[in-house]
């Protein structure tokens, strides 16, 4: 059986390894994709409009270009993004339709690698790797 639901760039855009020791931000995680899939998803304009102010646009664009050369995103968020339907559709395609089945995520600060298998990233770490607790 092949897994159906795998990690989308939407999720990647928010994942962070900031919980690691010596990782002040842990963002953005570098994505090395081995196997990607493209799927159809319904275009939900309201959701995309809700998410655009929250996503890190630079991270989205560079990650998307890294795995798929067929991305048509402008360098910066256009002023008229709310009414620019072509732009919204492209963001939707990149966020919701491109899925990573196999690959790995790498913490930008520590270089720690989190493998993605069957479309599910494994963010488990050893207790020692965790950020130290703040004193009580």
């Amino acid at each position: 059986m092949t897994p159906f639901q795998t990690m989308r760039l939407l999720t990647h855009n928010f994942l962070s390894s900031g919980f690691l020791k010596n990782a002040p931000t842990g963002y953005p995680l570098k994505l090395n994709a081995i196997k990607i899939e493209t799927k159809e998803a319904d275009f939900d304009e309201k959701f995309i409009k809700n998410m655009i102010p929250k996503i890190n646009y630079e991270c989205l664009k560079s990650t998307a270009l890294g795995i798929d050369s067929n991305v048509h995103l402008p360098d910066a968020l256009p002023e008229d993004w709310e009414s620019n339907e072509a732009f919204l559709k492209e963001v939707h395609r990149v966020l919701m339709c491109v899925e990573i089945v196999e690959g790995e995520l790498q913490c930008p600060d520590t270089g720690r690698i989190f493998p993605i298998r069957d479309g599910i990233p494994n963010m488990l770490v050893q207790e020692e790797e965790k950020m130290d607790e703040q004193p009580e």
Partner: protein, 285 residues
């Protein structure tokens, strides 16, 4: 649940192995209860209408709660520590599923950048955090770390609704104290508090601003059962009735009516009131 607590038997990633996970996903009784609780949790989130939100599902298991989120038109990311559960979740997902799954331990923190989510739900998961499964795990620290990172990744003015089965009062006190330390406002909402079976405990946490806790369901929706996190529950539940007040004799009409009202409170289906209640049948019958 009342008789056997799975969190006593070992760490969740070992307890929910492939057998247990597939048993869990195919048990229609579990699925029905879980999706009912998930729907209630989404209701308690009080999300803005006609705006699809991005939610976090902590301890998503086999994706039962995720289905409930997708059904309401929202999007989610599910976290779970059991890979077997996640595999089933990801394989069972169909076109209607609006979520991704991540293999992660909530006690190690929620791995997202600040302000990511419009809300978070968790169904029957956080009681697992109250148990240490290795010598370097401290439940209190893990709870604190969990709530701290959860607070961070939620947007301001959003809510987290965490349904759980508290084993005893000190456990729910511990959980609430850690949530408060992390900066959350809120408290417990107990649905059907008079019923042992239908009773469900939801920890409703709010980021920023003091807001009124939502009302709990009681079955008749008149009596309200609200608790703030500082209340001592045990002391409040005493019934100070008149002792001389006589109990209705068993079988009498008053006794039938009292029993009927009690069962309504417990959220059970009962017959309507009628002039025939408690009457004797005629001998010719």
């Amino acid at each position: 649940m009342a008789t056997r607590r799975p969190e006593h038997s070992g760490p969740p990633e070992l307890y929910y192995n492939e057998d247990e996970a597939s048993r869990y996903a195919s048990n229609s009784h579990i699925v029905a209860i879980q999706s009912e609780m998930a729907e209630r949790a989404i209701e308690l989130l009080a999300l803005p209408e006609d705006k699809p939100s991005f939610l976090l599902d902590i301890g998503c298991g086999t994706g039962i709660s995720g289905d409930a989120i997708s059904a309401t038109g929202h999007y989610f990311v599910g976290l779970d520590i059991s890979m077997s559960m996640l595999r089933i979740a990801s394989q069972d997902a169909d076109e209607t599923c609006n979520g991704d799954f991540i293999h992660s331990d909530m006690g190690q923190g929620v791995p997202f950048r600040p302000g990511t989510f419009d809300g978070a739900i968790s169904i029957s998961a956080i009681q697992w955090l109250c148990h240490a499964n290795s010598s370097n795990q401290n439940p209190k620290k893990r709870l604190h770390h969990f709530f701290q990172t959860l607070y961070g990744c939620l947007g301001r003015g959003t809510r987290a609704v965490l349904q759980f089965y508290p084993e005893n009062e000190s456990q729910s006190d511990l959980i609430m104290a850690q949530a408060q330390r992390a900066g959350f406002n809120g408290g417990l909402v107990v649905d059907y508090p008079n019923s042992t079976k239908a009773r469900k405990v939801y920890l409703v946490l709010m980021t920023g601003g003091i807001a009124q806790l939502p009302k709990a369901l009681t079955g008749e929706e008149v009596e309200e059962e609200e608790r703030t996190s500082v209340d001592v529950v045990g002391r409040r539940n005493f019934v100070t009735g008149n002792r001389r007040e006589k109990k209705p004799s068993k079988g009498s009409k008053a006794w039938v009516e009292a029993k009927r009202l009690r069962q309504i409170k417990q959220g059970r289906d009962v017959r309507h009131e009628s002039k025939y209640s408690g009457r004797k049948r005629k001998p010719k019958f």
